[in-house]
C-alpha cells in the first residue's frame, strides 16, 4: 500500500527557505508571487493492505519521527 505524508510548517513559523525561494523567483523575473512556503513529502510503501490500519500506523510514525510536531503539521494520503 502506497501512502504520501506531507509535512508543512505551522502557521506563523518562520520559513527561511520559503523566503529565499521567493526572493530568487523575483530575481529571476517571476512577478506576482505573493508567498512561498516549503515543506516535505515522504512517500511510503507499506506491507499493510488495510487503508484504515495503514493510516493509523502512519499517524504514529508521523508523531514519532516523520514530523516535528512542535513546529510542523502533517497530512496523510493513502493511494488508491
Amino acid at each position: 500500500m502506497k501512502a504520501r505524508v506531507t509535512v508543512t510548517l505551522k502557521n506563523g513559523v518562520l520559513d527561511p527557505q520559503g523566503k529565499a525561494i521567493q526572493g530568487a523567483l523575483g530575481a529571476l523575473g517571476f512577478s506576482g508571487v505573493d508567498s512561498v512556503r516549503q515543506g516535505r513529502v515522504i512517500d511510503l510503501d507499506l506491507a499493510e493492505s488495510d487503508p484504515a490500519a495503514a493510516r493509523a500506523k502512519i499517524a504514529e510514525m508521523c508523531e514519532a519521527l516523520l514530523a516535528n510536531t512542535v513546529i510542523e503539521s502533517y497530512a496523510i494520503d493513502i493511494a488508491g
Binding site: 505551522k10 506563523g12 518562520l14 523566503k19 529565499a20 516535528n68 512542535v70 513546529i71
Partner: protein, 578 residues
C-alpha cells in the same frame, strides 16, 4: 487580535510572571493601571532573564576589572585588549528551555544570539564554543535532544561561518527534563572600533535592521495570545526558527555600516526583542525613546503592539544613526537584502512612548523600567557538605585494565569526536589547535599571536560543595588555557541553576559565586561578561548547579602552541602539580 484595553486581572498579572508586590510596584511607579502592552513591557524588563533580580546582588561581588579589560559586564559582550590595536570580544549565553522544547531550533537560535552579541560590539566572530548537558543516555528523550542540539549548534555556526573549536558534553539524570545549551562566541575588533548600546543625541533616528518581525517566541503571554487570537485554528507555536543565512548577511552589513561611521549606538534584539533593546539604548544614554510601530517591518498581518514589543524574532538589530548618514546606511542594508526602517527617534523626555495606528499604546518612565526593577536578596542556606569517603573504604578495582576501558568507554569520558565533527572547526583558516585537546587555539589574523579558549565546569563537584566547585571550574579553565601555552586573559560565565526561590538552590548559587570570585581574584582572571539561567527545574527536581566558565587566553607566538599528543618514542613523561 490582542486588544490593548483588556482588564488587567490578577490572573493576567500572574501569567506575565509578575508577583502581586511587583505589580503593586508598577502601579506605584506609573500612578495608574498599565495597558496590556505596558504590562507586557514590564514583564519583559522585570523578568529574571532581563533584570537579574535574584542574582544581581551576588554578581556585584565578582572581580570584573584588570589592566587589559576594556569593557566588563553590562554590554552585549566583554572586551579585552590583546595589543597590536586589537581586542578580543566574548560572551557566553544559555538557551536551555527552548532547546529542550525544540532541540534543533533552540540550539541554533542560541548560537545565533551569542554571535549577534559579539558582532553588535563591532567584532567579527572568529571562534565559537559550546557547553552541553543532557539527561541520562538511556533516558527516552536524551537521544532526540542530543542529536537535535548538536545538529542545531552545527547548523547555525557552520552556515554563519565561524569555527567551533571547543566545548564540553556531559550526561546526568538531573538534566533529564532540562538540558543545558550554553554557547560562547569570541570575536576580534579594533580597539578604536568598539560599539556600545547607549544612545546619544536628541532627535536621532532609531533604525530597525535585519529580518522581519513575526509572532515568534511571544512567551509569558502564550495564554493571552491563544485566548485573544480568534483567527487561527491551530495553537501558534512560540518556537523561534533560526535563519543563519540572514544572520551572516546581518554581520556583513553591520560591520560595513560600522566602518562607514554612521553608527552612534547599537543593540541586538535578543530576548524580549524590541522592548529590551529600545529601553536599554534610551536608559543607558539618559534619553527618551519614541517608537512608531506602524514602521516596523512585519512578517505576519495584523500584529498588535503587544506582539511587536514582545516578539523574539531572530536576526534583528536596533541602531541609533547619525541622521546625515541615513541614506548611506540604507544603501548598505539594501545591498545585503535586509530590511531597514526608521521606526523612531530619541527624545529628551526620559519617557518610553510606543505608538501604533496613531494611538499611544505605552508611555512609561524609561529609567525606572530598567533601574527600578525589583532586586531580591533571596534567603539561602548553605548545603550540607557530604562527609568525605575514606579512601580505605573504596575497594580497589579487580582489574585495572578493564577499569581503564570502562572509564574511556563511559558516556562522560568517551571521545567527543562525533560531536565536533559536526561542527566546522577549520573555517577561516586560523585554527591552530582543533577540538579534542585541552583548549582550542586560533591565530589572530594579521599578527603572529594566538587565542586559546576553553569551557569548563564539573557540576557534581558544585553539588557536593558549591564553593569548591566554583573554584575548580575557574581553575580548570585556567589550566586548560595554560596547558596549550597561553596566558589566561579573562573569562565569561554561564550560571545555570534551579529555582532561586528555594533557599538550598540559592545556597548553591551563592556558594558557586563565592568560589568563582575567589579563584578569579587569586588568578587575576577577571569576569568580563556572562549570563544567568535560573529556574532550570522539572517537577521540582533541579539540575545540578552548573556554572560554566569560558576562559580566553593569549599566546604571543601562536606557533608555540602545544598539543596533547605524545610526539615521539622514548620521551620522558613528567607529572607536575599536587
Amino acid at each position: 487580535m490582542i486588544r490593548n484595553d483588556v482588564q488587567i486581572t490578577p490572573a493576567l498579572v500572574a501569567e506575565h510572571g509578575l508577583k502581586p508586590d511587583e505589580y503593586q510596584r508598577i502601579l506605584d511607579l506609573i500612578g495608574r493601571e498599565p495597558s496590556l502592552t505596558e504590562l507586557g513591557i514590564f514583564s519583559a524588563m522585570w523578568n529574571e532573564h532581563c533584570s537579574y533580580k535574584s542574582s544581581k546582588k551576588w554578581l556585584r561581588t565578582l572581580p570584573t576589572t584588570g589592566p587589559r579589560v576594556i569593557q566588563g559586564p553590562g554590554e552585549n559582550a566583554g572586551v579585552v585588549d590583546i595589543g597590536d590595536g586589537l581586542t578580543v570580544v566574548f560572551k557566553m549565553e544559555s538557551h536551555n528551555h527552548p532547546s529542550y522544547i525544540e532541540p534543533y531550533q533552540g540550539a541554533a537560535t542560541g548560537v545565533g544570539g551569542i554571535l549577534r552579541d559579539v558582532f553588535t560590539m563591532g567584532a567579527r566572530p572568529v571562534a565559537a564554543l559550546n557547553a552541553l548537558r543532557f539527561g541520562a543516555p538511556d533516558h527516552p528523550k536524551t537521544r532526540h535532544v542530543v542529536s537535535g542540539v548538536v545538529a542545531g549548534v552545527g547548523g547555525y555556526g557552520n552556515s554563519f561561518g565561524v569555527p567551533t573549536v571547543g566545548g564540553e558534553v556531559n550526561f546526568d539524570p538531573h538534566y533529564n527534563g532540562n538540558c543545558l545549551v550554553n554557547a560562547m562566541a569570541v570575536g576580534l575588533a579594533p580597539a578604536d572600533g568598539i560599539f556600545l548600546s547607549a544612545a546619544s543625541g536628541v532627535g536621532m533616528p532609531i533604525v530597525y535592521l535585519g529580518s522581519k518581525t513575526g509572532r515568534d517566541g511571544i512567551h509569558g503571554a502564550t495564554m493571552a495570545s491563544a485566548e485573544f487570537d480568534e483567527g487561527s485554528q491551530e495553537k501558534r507555536p512560540t518556537v523561534q526558527v533560526g535563519d543563519p543565512f540572514a544572520e551572516k548577511l546581518l554581520l556583513e552589513a553591520c560591520l560595513e555600516l560600522m566602518a562607514s561611521g554612521a553608527v552612534i549606538a547599537i543593540q541586538d534584539m535578543g530576548a524580549a526583542g524590541l522592548t529590551c533593546s529600545a529601553v536599554e539604548m534610551g536608559a543607558k544614554g539618559d534619553l527618551g525613546v519614541e517608537l512608531d510601530l506602524d514602521k516596523v517591518p512585519c512578517r505576519e498581518e495584523g500584529m498588535t503592539a503587544y506582539e511587536m514589543m514582545l516578539s523574539e524574532s531572530q536576526e534583528r538589530m536596533l541602531m541609533v544613526l547619525h541622521p546625515e548618514h541615513e541614506e548611506k546606511a540604507k544603501a548598505i542594508f539594501t545591498k545585503w537584502g535586509l530590511d531597514f526602517a526608521v521606526i523612531g527617534y530619541t527624545t529628551d523626555t526620559l519617557r518610553f512612548v510606543v505608538r501604533h495606528h496613531g494611538d499611544v499604546m505605552a508611555d512609561l518612565p524609561i529609567k525606572e523600567l530598567g533601574d527600578m526593577a525589583p532586586e531580591y536578596d533571596r534567603p539561602w542556606v548553605a548545603p550540607k557538605t557530604p562527609a568525605p569517603v575514606p579512601a580505605a573504604e573504596v575497594p580497589a578495582p579487580a582489574d585495572l585494565g578493564q577499569t581503564i576501558l570502562d572509564i574511556v568507554g563511559s558516556p562522560d569520558q568517551c571521545s567527543r569526536r562525533w560531536v565536533w565533527e559536526q561542527y566546522d572547526h577549520l573555517i577561516q583558516g586560523n585554527t591552530a589547535i582543533r577540538p579534542g585537546g585541552d583548549a582550542g587555539v586560533i591565530r589572530v589574523e594579521g599578527t603572529g599571536k594566538g587565542l586559546a579558549m576553553s569551557v569548563d565546569v564539573t557540576p557534581r563537584y558544585c553539588r557536593a560543595e558549591p564553593k569548591q566547585g566554583g573554584r575548580q571550574a575557574v581553575a580548570e579553565a585556567w589550566r586548560n588555557i595554560t596547558a596549550v601555552g597561553a596566558t589566561p586573559l579573562a573569562l565569561t560565565d554561564n550560571l545555570n541553576f534551579g529555582n532561586p526561590e528555594r533557599p538550598e538552590i540559592m545556597g548553591e548559587f551563592v556558594g558557586c559565586i563565592e568560589g568563582i570570585g575567589e579563584a578569579a581574584r587569586a588568578l587575576e582572571f577577571p569576569i568580563v561578561s556572562g549570563n544567568v539561567s535560573l529556574y532550570n527545574e522539572t517537577l521540582g527536581e533541579a539540575i545540578l548547579p552548573t556554572p560554566a566558565i569560558g576562559g580566553v587566553g593569549l599566546l604571543d607566538d601562536v606557533d608555540q602552541a602545544v598539543t596533547i599528543a605524545f610526539k615521539a618514542d622514548d620521551e620522558v613523561i613528567v607529572l607536575v602539580g599536587g
